[in-house]
């Protein structure tokens, strides 16, 4: 009753092919973006914007990236952290060595492009190696890249500590990166990237390139037989996925942790992003956001629960319990909703369509 796909007649091809052809979807998404862009920075508290919204949005970019590779193209990757690090280190290098008049989004994009190149290099074996063999092989990217950035001082301008802080940069006179930036400015900077990258991801998924990814995912030999080139398809998935991860890594360093450090991109990060993709829903842009929010907020939530009930538990026991509950929650979600949180959204739409009649 509230939501219907039937009866939405279009009179031009342009209207029929737009990204969100159903008006309800369109108004809903525009509404969410407006709330995110205007209401949250205007009324949200500093803590929420800086410590929750910014990291969740950045991780959504990384999750979108991994979703392109794993959800759409079917190539399991455990090297996300390495690709994020590639983006972070390269954009730091560019940001600290470029002339001042260039805008700050350039180093972020260069970081993404560098990550894409690295992704292509580590994607090459995917032409021969499949499934879990590939997953373990991508761990090579994770360990090799982190080692590379840690042990070659060129990337951090020969900084003595090896952990330089993010360069402060401005747009229209406002600091958007580094420690001086106000949370709202960082947030809007990140949000711009998120919106643009989400639109691109959504459009890629329903265009020729996205369909060839899905064909390769569903059965690569069959895809090859109907004329999809595995080389281009797989490598483009690796490149674009790594681009997203690289941008996410650069933003993570510049706008969230304010330093460029290898520990932020360790193997734990790779698994976190993979969890976001699986819990959120494979092959869904919406799922990337839901998954990122869920995985990032769950530990924070678990950390605060004892406080709400006034329980005094030693911090190390809380940490162990947190691990246990996190692990159990992941298993629980995999069992009750194997298709991820995005599937719940589908079910909700179904209900809205049928309401008030059950069939």
């Amino acid at each position: 009753m509230f939501y219907r796909e039937a009866g939405q007649f279009k009179t031009s091809y342009a209207a029929d092919q737009q990204m969100l052809p159903i008006p309800m979807d369109r108004y809903f998404v525009i509404g969410v973006v407006l709330v995110a862009a205007i209401l949250i920075p205007a009324f949200g508290s500093q803590y929420w914007i800086e410590s929750i919204m910014v990291p969740v949005l950045i991780l959504s970019i990384a999750a979108m990236g991994l979703n392109i590779l794993t959800g759409y193209a079917g190539q399991l990757s455990l090297g996300t952290g390495g690709f994020m690090a590639a983006g972070a280190y390269m954009s730091y290098k560019v940001a600290t060595n470029m002339p001042d008049f260039l805008p700050v989004w350039i180093p972020v994009l260069v970081g993404g492009l560098f990550a894409a190149a690295v992704g292509i290099a580590f994607g090459l074996p995917s032409l021969r190696i499949k499934g879990f063999y590939l997953a373990v092989a991508t761990l090579a990217a994770q360990f090799f890249l982190l080692w590379l950035f840690q042990s070659i001082p060129w990337f951090v301008n020969n900084s003595v500590s090896g952990v330089p802080s993010a360069p402060p940069t401005t747009i229209l006179g406002y600091h958007v990166t580094g420690a001086q930036a106000i949370p709202e400015a960082k947030y809007l900077f990140v949000l711009t990237f998120v919106v643009i990258l989400a639109i691109i991801a959504r459009n890629m998924a329903r265009s020729r390139v996205g369909r060839s990814w899905m064909a390769i995912r569903d059965m690569d030999i069959a895809a090859e037989l109907i004329g999809i080139r595995p080389l281009q398809t797989k490598l483009s998935a690796f490149a674009i996925s790594s681009f997203y991860c690289g941008v996410a890594g650069a933003l993570w360093s510049f706008c969230y942790i304010n330093t460029v450090e290898p520990t932020a991109f360790d193997i734990g990060r790779s698994f976190d992003v993979l969890f976001m993709v699986i819990i959120g829903g494979l092959g869904s842009v919406l799922g990337a956001f839901l998954g990122a929010a869920f995985i990032f907020l769950l530990p924070i939530f678990l950390n605060n629960v004892p406080g709400w009930f006034g329980l005094e538990i030693a911090t190390d026991i809380v940490a162990h319990l947190e691990f246990m509950i996190f692990g159990a929650a992941i298993i629980f979600f995999l069992i009750v909703e194997p298709h991820g949180l995005a599937r719940l959204w589908q079910i909700a739409k179904e209900k809205l369509r049928l309401w008030p009649f059950p069939h």
Binding site: R128, A140, F323, F326
Partner: protein, 321 residues
């Protein structure tokens, strides 16, 4: 530039030094194989890529050390034996719980979901083990010899030798178990073809419990070996990540593959760490960073895989449309 061999005060070109590094590497490889074996067993019987194997090693070792303390007023032999038996009971219980709570509800789901579930198990066990037994480093000493033996001029750690012997006994025992017992035959049948095994009345659920218990047993042995070498601590579960390149090198479905893969990775890693880095530093670029141990195994395995995508001993992958 001072090279590693100079630092040790040995002639880097001596054949004995080469042998010493090689044997040290092979022995380290045996330790990786012990962890990889557990992965292979579970993958063969249920096609589950069990990421929790590394944490199972840690969990088993934590329990073993904990129960050693519980039985500390008994004579040593009895103490070790009792701790071993009780820990084994814990691992079997774990197998039961995992089968009932995790595997059974997830049966027929995508492989990646099961893989993620085992990461969930890993995270859970990590918290659970340390919640019960605490998170400080515990020494483990059950009388494994820690002298050194000299073969020519090459020095060999006795504990490494001991680990190699234990690993061989373990592999022979597993091979006998698989070939000459009823359960072993059932396990091989399931590994060969799930559907056919089901149709002749082999209960898959029981097989999973058994195979997870056997993997628990292997994890316990590996945990004791690793624990007496490094102390029982959190980093054991990270060390287990080294078993992954061993696994892809040897093939997910092959027990000999796990052993040979472990030996190749172990020896290759140690030789590269000393001789390759030395050569690069001497002839190509003196500023080349030394610690390549973190990633070398992966790159080595990746190189092998490009030529044999199913690993050295894995079953040939036949693809049909």
């Amino acid at each position: 530039m001072e090279t590693f061999a100079n630092l040790l005060g040995v002639d880097p070109f001596s054949i004995w030094f080469f042998f010493e590094v090689l044997i040290g590497g092979l022995m380290a490889g045996v330790m990786y194989s012990l962890v990889a074996l557990g992965f292979v067993l579970i993958f063969k019987a249920s096609s589950v890529f069990n990421f929790a194997q590394g944490v199972m090693v840690l969990f088993a070792a934590l329990n073993f050390v904990g129960f050693l303390e519980v039985f500390s007023d008994l004579p040593v032999v009895l103490q070790v034996a009792l701790a071993f038996i009780v820990t084994m009971a814990v691992m079997i219980l774990l197998a039961l719980v995992v089968e009932r709570v995790v595997l059974r509800p997830l049966v027929n789901q995508a492989h990646i979901s099961l893989f993620m579930a085992t990461i969930g198990i890993a995270i859970f066990l990590e918290g659970f083990g340390e919640l019960i037994w605490g998170s400080n480093i515990k020494p483990l000493d059950i009388g494994i010899p820690d002298d050194v033996t000299f073969v020519g001029d090459a020095m060999i750690q006795d504990s490494d030798l001991f680990a190699a012997i234990v690993a061989s006994i373990l592999v022979v025992t597993l091979a006998l178990f698989f070939h000459y017992t009823r359960i072993g035959r059932a396990l091989r049948a399931v590994a060969d073809d799930h559907q056919a095994a089901l149709s002749i009345g082999i209960p898959l659920n029981h097989i999973w419990i058994i195979v997870w218990s056997v993997a628990g047993f292997v994890a316990l042995v590996a945990g004791i070996m690793w624990g007496s070498k490094l102390g029982v601590q959190f980093s054991l579960s990270i060390l287990a990540l080294k078993a992954l390149p061993v696994l892809i090198l040897g093939g997910f479905t092959s027990i000999p593959g796990a052993i040979v893969g472990g030996l190749i990775i172990g020896a290759g890693e140690k030789l590269a760490e000393i001789f390759l880095v030395d050569a690069i530093q001497t002839y190509i670029y003196s500023g080349f960073p030394a610690a390549i141990e973190e990633w070398f195994a992966y790159i080595l395995a990746l190189g092998f895989l490009v030529f044999r995508p199913q690993g050295l001993f894995g079953e040939k992958i036949i693809e049909r449309v």
